[in-house]
Amino acid sequence: MSRKFLVQFMTILLLSVMLLSACGPGAAPTSATQPPANNATVAPVTQPPAASISGKVTVWCWSASWTNSIVKSGALDAFLAEYPNVQVDYVETAPQDVYQKLPIAISAGTGAPDWACVESSHLAQLVALGGLTDLTAQVTPYIDKMNAYKWPDAMLDGKYYAMPWDSGPVVMYYRRDVFKAAGLASDPDSVSAIVATWDDYLNVCKTILEKTGDQCFASNKANNDARLYEIMLWQQGLGYTNAEGQVTVDSPENVATLEELKKFWDAGLLSDQSAWTDGWYAEFSAGGTAPVATVGPGTPEPAAVKPVATLVEAAWMGVFLKSFVAPGTEGLWGVAQMPAMKAGQPRSSNDGGSNVVIPEQSQNKAAAWALAEWLFGRVDSQVAIFKANDIFPSLEAAYADPVFTEPDPYFDNQNVRSAYVDAVKIIPTGYVYGPNYALMNRYVQTAIAKVATGAASVQAALTEAADAIRNDTGLP
């Protein structure tokens, strides 16, 4: 072969091959990519002086939690003042994006943040996946200081992989004006008394519908997110599995719970709005004043939307109600205890709550832990964050702060905070969250949708979901 050809050939071949195998050694994917060593500790247990901790902490969190809570509370600034050599780089990441991107970044070996907010619903799955730093040594002093029910999701094989932040004790938000218009008592204690059980709640809502035409709450039929159902399960100490790890999605108790919810649909009490959509917000805002920023000058008045009377949700909902869901309805709301399934059972549940994890990839673990501990392990930070945005601390010592006895004008000067504290103290152990929560939730969502739209009976729908879950997870 001619020299010229050889040279050109090699060049082009080299170019082609280079394109396909740039820089990295070992282009073949290894099947046994070792998960990061799970016993690498972050920092010695004795705290090093603040000035010696340095580094840039990349944070993945979402604006409601970070910008509007942590930053707004001033806790972040206090941290940065105390740790002058640490920088914090915030990357706005919606919860769903965290749960999609973090596993990919972990398995890709690059791109994970140093610090990530993780809701309790998805924590166990991330912990089970691997790739998170073992924080046992760091969180040990806090184990008995946080709500006890928060820890199981953070644990694997006896080790701890997350620091709890906030909890979601469930209460019933209700519209005082709607209750009044229906001729019912509208102060919190009376309302708590008349919705003592879910059947009582059903009857109260029937009365409201009859007298005012307003609906009880919103729960979309076709795209149900299953959260209310999960709240109802949790308050009974039930869940998608039981303590032995068996799938209980189609157990008699679970079926009975969904039957109870179905009664509300059958009575026409539920509005069909999907959660977190404009129509949903409109129902909460009805009867109030519209926020200025989202309305253009000269916009005609919208036709009257009927308000929805109640909302059974966790304490963090107060934040959202005030900020963007229904900011114009200040003073029209009250907080009562959520109904119990049967008389005598706990009138509280959990929905949500979040934690923070530190991926093993992080090069700034000490700084990341310092940030986590500062924000969530200290009473003053947690109280400040709570004051900023109603994010309910998992740190129990915080409840002693006087802020938990203050009236809240949004709720007609009711002391809602003590209601949250009372609720959090009686949250039973539930089996809703767990390593397979996302998968189970998806199947149950479909089941509830089928029940709500009349496509299947409760037993059939839940059995179908349970079988699919058993098929997918291999659990009994």
Binding site: F9, S107, L129, N220, G279, Q445, N471, D472
Partner: protein
């Protein structure tokens, strides 16, 4: 003896060389074309062959993408048989195919015939407008459709309610209406594309044939059905086969339009979406690979059947 210069020796050698009949000699002579086509085969080796084989291997393991792989034999495939969502996705592939392909193909053909017939003015304008949706990215198109089809606030329901007094249709919240909505989106995107293909096919039909039919007394509709369609069979077949494979592989439209992706109660989920969810949502790489292979086999068989069946009728 005079010293023969080296170059002359070389030329003489070449001229007197036996014709290179040997295979290796021919290969060496054709090194350039081999070089030119090499990038494709190298790329295929890595991203095609290796990936396909590795995927086959993966379908026999359980693996989260991180940590050890667990060999489980045929367990993934056994689970597939009982996987209601996967079965539903296959059903949906068929359902959707029958829901939008006949209508879209027919419409594309009719529009092509109309525009080709020179009977209307503004051929270029109509062709441009009808083709335009194809160039829009599906994210923009899909979210716009979501707004349009909103049950309570969308213009479509408002229009239907005001002018036809139809109560609000749950476009994206009912099993069958969601499928209809998806088909609407697909037709919206692909009608122009198919029309252009039909137009090109029509150009190959000599105009005399349809004229001859007309002279023989056929009206336009008859000439359409008895002359045009039979002659367009290959093009129609091509379009339909493409659409069949496409309806199982639908991802973009489903992923953007339906919430959660796959439609209310899995009404619109397709095999590709299911595979994507299992792989990147549930991190079940082994199971997703098994699903992909099952889907591959089923699709392959389907295509064979289609080509065999329609291919015979073309002649």
């Amino acid at each position: 003896m005079l010293a023969v210069p080296r170059s002359e020796k070389r030329i003489a050698k070449k001229l007197s060389a036996k014709p290179s009949r040997g295979l290796w000699a021919r290969i060496v002579k054709a090194r350039w074309p081999y070089l030119f086509i090499a990038p494709f085969y190298i790329s295929f080796l890595v991203f095609g062959l290796y990936s396909t084989l590795f995927s086959f291997y993966l379908s026999f393991v359980e693996w989260k993408g991180l940590g050890p792989m667990k060999f489980v034999g045929l367990k993934n495939f056994a689970m597939l048989f009982k996987d209601k969502v996967f079965i539903q996705s296959m059903e949906n592939g068929f359902l959707l195919f029958f829901m939008y392909v006949p209508l879209m193909t027919f419409l594309a053909l009719v529009l092509a015939v109309i525009l080709n017939s020179k009977r209307v003015r503004g051929f270029k304008l109509f062709r441009t407008i009808i083709f335009m949706p194809y160039i829009m990215n599906i994210a923009a198109a899909g979210f716009s459709f979501r707004l349009l089809l909103d049950q309570k606030y969308g213009p479509v329901n408002v229009f239907l309610g005001n002018f036809f007094h139809i109560s609000p249709i749950p476009w994206l919240e009912d099993i069958w209406w969601a499928r209809v909505s998806l088909c609407l989106l697909i037709i919206w995107v692909w009608l122009g594309y198919n029309m252009v293909i039909m137009l090109a096919g029509l150009q190959t039909i000599p105009g005399e044939l349809t004229e001859a039919a007309m002279i023989d007394g056929a009206n336009p509709a008859q000439s359409f059905f008895y002359v045009t369609i039979p002659l367009m069979r290959p093009v129609i077949l091509f379009s339909v086969v493409l659409s069949l494979m496409g309806s199982f592989a639908l991802f973009n439209e489903v992923f953007i339009l339906t919430v959660p992706a796959g439609g209310p109660m899995n009404a619109t989920i397709t095999p590709f979406v299911d595979i994507f969810n299992q792989a990147f949502g549930n991190n079940r790489f082994g199971y997703a690979s098994a699903m992909a292979y099952a889907y591959f086999v089923i699709l392959f068989v389907l295509t064979l059947i289609q080509v065999r069946y329609f291919g015979q009728r073309v002649d």
